[in-house]
């Protein structure tokens, strides 16, 4: 039986290779995309670079406190499932206090994992539908206002600096109208040592490298000579 979809990407964090292998194998069979990390050092970059529908998290990591990851996930509104050993009831409590959606007592059977994942993801999907209002289509990207990031079709997340975010948000808000460099320099004045036209140009150049297929021939952020910049309207609200 396959109940997942490849749009759901799950990160499993545990230092037990057999558990990682088991989780990855059964979740893949259910149709989910699965990444795994053996410790905090592997997990944090994965969380920075990707957007996950769910994180399965062991609280006892060899290089740090899994609860810290849990707090970050709660801030990002990413649901997570805590794994604890039967003899550690206090861990379960800590997990819930840190915002865990549910917990699994280790060791667990493969079905237990898939049942709990299925139970969490539908309720998360409802939340995600509400959050979609904070996302704006931008070419092959989604501009995520809450996370200040660009999300690719495969879930890959590209973080934006404060200046990049403000500049892009201003262009989107303009709804296809031209915004002068002067106006944009005011928008980004507090970021990136901003306040100069040159800063705006640098930010536009960096954004183009992130979102354009060919930054030298931009199709999303257009230069209007002598006037400023505008966003190609056909890309911002499909």
């Amino acid at each position: 039986m396959s109940s997942g979809t490849y749009s759901h990407r799950i990160l499993v964090i545990d230092d037990d290779p057999s558990l990682l292998y088991l989780c990855a194998t059964v979740l893949l069979k259910e149709g989910y995309q699965v990444d795994y990390a053996a410790n905090q050092a592997e997990a944090l970059p994965a969380l920075e670079q990707n957007e996950y529908s769910l994180v399965v998290l062991d609280l006892n990591l060899p290089d740090g406190d899994g609860l810290e990851i849990g707090r970050r996930l709660q801030q990002r509104q990413t649901p997570f499932l805590v794994m604890t050993v039967r003899s550690q009831p206090a861990e379960r409590l800590l997990g819930f206090e840190s915002g865990a959606a549910d917990y699994l007592i280790k060791p667990f059977l493969p079905h237990e994992l898939t049942h709990r994942v299925r139970r969490i993801l539908p309720s998360w999907e409802e939340q995600a539908r509400q959050q979609n209002n904070s996302r704006v289509p931008l070419g092959r990207w989604q501009f995520d206002l809450k996370r200040q990031a660009l999300v690719a079709e495969d879930g890959q997340m590209t973080r934006l600096t404060g200046g990049e975010f403000k500049l892009l948000a201003a262009l989107i808000t303009a709804d296809g109208r031209v915004i002068s460099r002067d106006r944009l320099s005011t928008v980004v004045a507090r970021e990136e040592g901003g306040g100069h036209f040159r800063t705006v140009d640098v930010l536009v150049s960096r954004l183009r490298k992130k979102i354009e297929d060919n930054p030298r021939q931009p199709e999303i952020i257009l230069t209007i000579t002598g006037a400023g910049y505008r966003l190609e309207k056909s890309t911002d609200a499909q």
Binding site: S18, Y21, M83, R86, K106, P107, F108, P110
Partner: protein
């Protein structure tokens, strides 16, 4: 020594090669934790003993080995309440029981090459 029902459950969820790979990971981890237990016994390091017991108790394949599972939970508890001698006894029992249980498990996985 072996929980046949649970082993069947794993066999239903995993193909023969997946089962072999899963238990290979499990066995390697058990060997590492056994080494930690030996070292902890030599150093009389109770927290390290508890940590290794915790890892063994929580490992994904351990429920198939009920005696190992029970000993690891008991060892973890003995460490938690500070019963040093009981912990040392349980650790020694665990070091004996786990390889025996592994041999029995390997017999149920005929495609595996025991080491």
């Amino acid at each position: 020594m072996l929980n046949e029902d649970l082993l069947q459950t794993f066999k239903k969820c995993l193909s023969a090669s997946e089962l072999e790979e899963f238990f290979r990971h499990h066995h390697e981890m058990m060997q590492q934790e056994e080494e930690r237990i030996r070292q902890a016994l030599a150093d009389d390091d109770l927290p390290a003993l508890g940590h290794a017991a915790h890892k063994i108790a929580g490992s994904a394949g351990t429920p198939c080995l009920p005696l190992v599972y029970r000993l690891s939970l008991d060892l973890n508890e003995a460490v938690r309440i500070g019963h040093r001698e009981q912990a040392r006894t349980l650790a020694a029992q665990l070091l004996t029981a786990r390889p025996k249980a592994w041999k029995m498990l390997v017999d149920r996985l005929p495609q595996r090459n025991p080491d």
